[in-house]
Structures are given as C-alpha cells and as structure tokens.
Amino acid sequence: VAHAWRTTETKWYPLPLAVGALLLVGLAWKHEYQRRRREAEVTLSGDGEVLKLQGPWQVHVLGALPLRQLSRLWGWLNSHELPLWLRPYGYGFYAWLFGVNLEEMDPADLSAYRSLGEFFYRGLKDGARPIAGTELVSPSDGTVVHLGEIQANRRIEQIKGVTYSLDALLGRGQSSTPVLSPSLPPREGTQDSAFAEINGIPYSLISLMGSPSSKPPNAPHRPATPIKAQDQGDRAIHQPVGEKVHHSVQVAQEMGAQAVTSLGHTVREGNSLFYIVVYLGPGDYHRFHSPASWVVEKRRHFSGELFSVNPWLVSRLPNLFVLNERVALLGKWRHGFFSFIPVGATNVGSINISFDTDLRTNAHSAPPVGTFVEASYSSASALLGGWPAVKGEEMGGFALG
C-alpha cells in the first residue's frame, strides 16, 4: 500500500456536471441542516413556548429542504426574459392550469410580459375590482382560510384546535436591532374623513397634508383602483374632532389579557381583537390593497422559513404563519389597533411594499429566525404619525422567488 501510494500517478479529470450539481446540493443541505440545528431551540412565541417543526412525515421532509435557496432559485429562473413567440403559449398554459382570468389584466397582450415573474405580478384594468362601502374589504383575491375573534389567551386559531401566539406573529417588545427610518416618498393629499376619526385631527387639515403636487417616485404605474376622495359622511363619528383617543389600561385589565403590547395600545372598552386569513392561490392576482383607511406606524420584518402556505400544509404544520418569513405592518384605524401581515411562501418569497423601497425580503443572509427588524413610518405624516393608507389603494404585492 505504501509503495502504491508513493508511485501511483495521479490523473485529474473534470467531474461530470451532474456530480458537481449533486455535490453543491449536498453542501447546501448540510449548511441548511446545521442552521436549523442551531435555531431549533429559539423561543419564537411571546409566551415562552419553544417552537419546533412538528407534524406528519411529509412536514419533516419539507423541513429538510433548503426552501429559501429553492425560492430564490425559482425567482431567478422566472426573471429570465422569454422569447416573444413563446409568451402567449407559456402564459396561456399557466392561465389554463391555474384559472387566471386573462380578460381583466392590464396590459391585456400576453406578449407584453417579458417573464413569468412579470406575468405573475400583473396589474388589473381600472374598475376590475370595485371597492365595497363597508368598513373592511378584502386586501387581495384569494380564499378565506379562517376568521374569528381572538380570545383572552391571545392565540389565533390556525385550524380547529391548533393555535399560534398573537405576540409571536406580530412581535413583542423592542427589536434587537436599531429602528430604521426608511426614506418614504412624498404623500399625495388624502381626502378621507376616516383619518379624522383615527387621530382626532380636523378633516380640513388631513386633506392638505403631504405634497399634493408630487407623485411618489416608486408609485405603481397605475393602481388597480384609483385613489379617490371617499365620501364617508354617512358614518357615525364616534368621537368629537380634536378629542384624543383615551386608551385605558384599567379597562383593558378588566377585560382580560387583551392588551396589544406590540404597539403599546390597549383594546378600548367594548372592543375586541379579530383576525382573518386570506390565502392567495397560484392563479390569483398577487398584489394587495389596503383593506381600510388606516395609518401604518411601523413595519416589522420577521425572518423565517418559506414553507408553502397552501391549505393542505396549513392543516398539518402548527405555527406555520409564525415560522414563515413575513412583514407585519402595524398601526391604527378608527376603531383602534390595526395590522396587516403578508406572509411569504416557497414560490412567492418576495414581499413588496409599494411605498417602502428599503424593504428587502428573502435575502441570502437572513437574520436568525424569530427576530425582527423594525422600521418607523412616523416621518410620513407629522399629523397622523405614520403612512396614511387609503382604503382600496394598492399597497404592494408578492413576487416570485
């Protein structure tokens, strides 16, 4: 053996591509496995619960995959420009497969979309989605997964009998990193009396805030629903203009443990916390709109996994919405606390917020699971203390990868 070791000539050959690819996948898997082991004991839940991957064997198989890397690879593949002749066939097949309504999209010409990623993030024609006059409207196309009232234990029901913590979803306490102040575009005048009911600011002042003559540089080229002044004069105004909202800690304590600590607010007397979960399928329009007129005060970006969020997995993987990467927009509306939480998934790992171009989701070097980076929008409006989101206005969307 010693003789052979010394005298045998070494010849080097290039590895076949398949072997090289296998080696790379193996290395990625090892890296992911080690990362998961390190993070396995992270306490994600606000009530001290240690969250671990649990469920049937399919869940563990999914958990072993490098989902974030796969998501970014998927996005990269779908950002490539397709040849002009292929576009109508390719997108037409996608539309047939997932039930996309091609007649309502804008532009209507399929060859105008350079890549599948662009087609996926398509816009809609004006008037395709009328906005209902009721207080809360759907922020997106999709299917209602669950809805209800949050009880005093501050847990949200994922499926029957399986819950996750409200504090884990929205974050509790302060971010471990400094609070960011993203550069926000100048805000157009907002003529919506609902804002007067939020902060008790005279309606006349609200209509003048921002820079009426300037358009946000990163505003979508044409929102699906134009922003218009809304006549909400038929609403009962529950408090006189100019009077500050009184949040009574004592009242909240009497009601039980309902305090919304994520913003330091407490629930008003006679109010409760409610939730609704909307799932967007692959064929759905993937931009989201403001479900009400409200003020976005903070953004919390939670790093996390990118499991699929289809109803099948929702019913099998507890704490799915707390494990996944998400952006929690926190603020207030006329009844008090309001939050809007887009949750990413494997195929749609990128969450865009139209007015916050500093936000980067599904990044290569993500901070540890369970932590969040906080940004304050207080500079958007000195009067309202945040970004005024008008009901029906486009707020952002989900992009492939």
Binding site: R129, I156, I276, Y285, V309
Partner: protein, 31 residues
C-alpha cells in the same frame, strides 16, 4: 402566499364572509 389581518373592532362586529369562501379585492369582509 397569505395575508393575515388582526384588528380591533367593536364587539358587535359582523363578518360578511365565511371560511372557504372565495374573495376578491375590495369585497366586503365585515362591518
């Protein structure tokens, strides 16, 4: 992808939709 809304509202809040129902942007969810 999924969107979760968590909000405060009067206890007399009434939903206009139910689980499993298809919704579209701008459709009433509750009042």
């Amino acid at each position: 992808s999924t969107i979760v809304l968590v909000f405060e509202a009067p206890q007399r809040w009434e939903w206009s939709v139910k689980p499993g129902e298809k919704v579209r942007v701008g459709q009433a969810l509750g009042d």
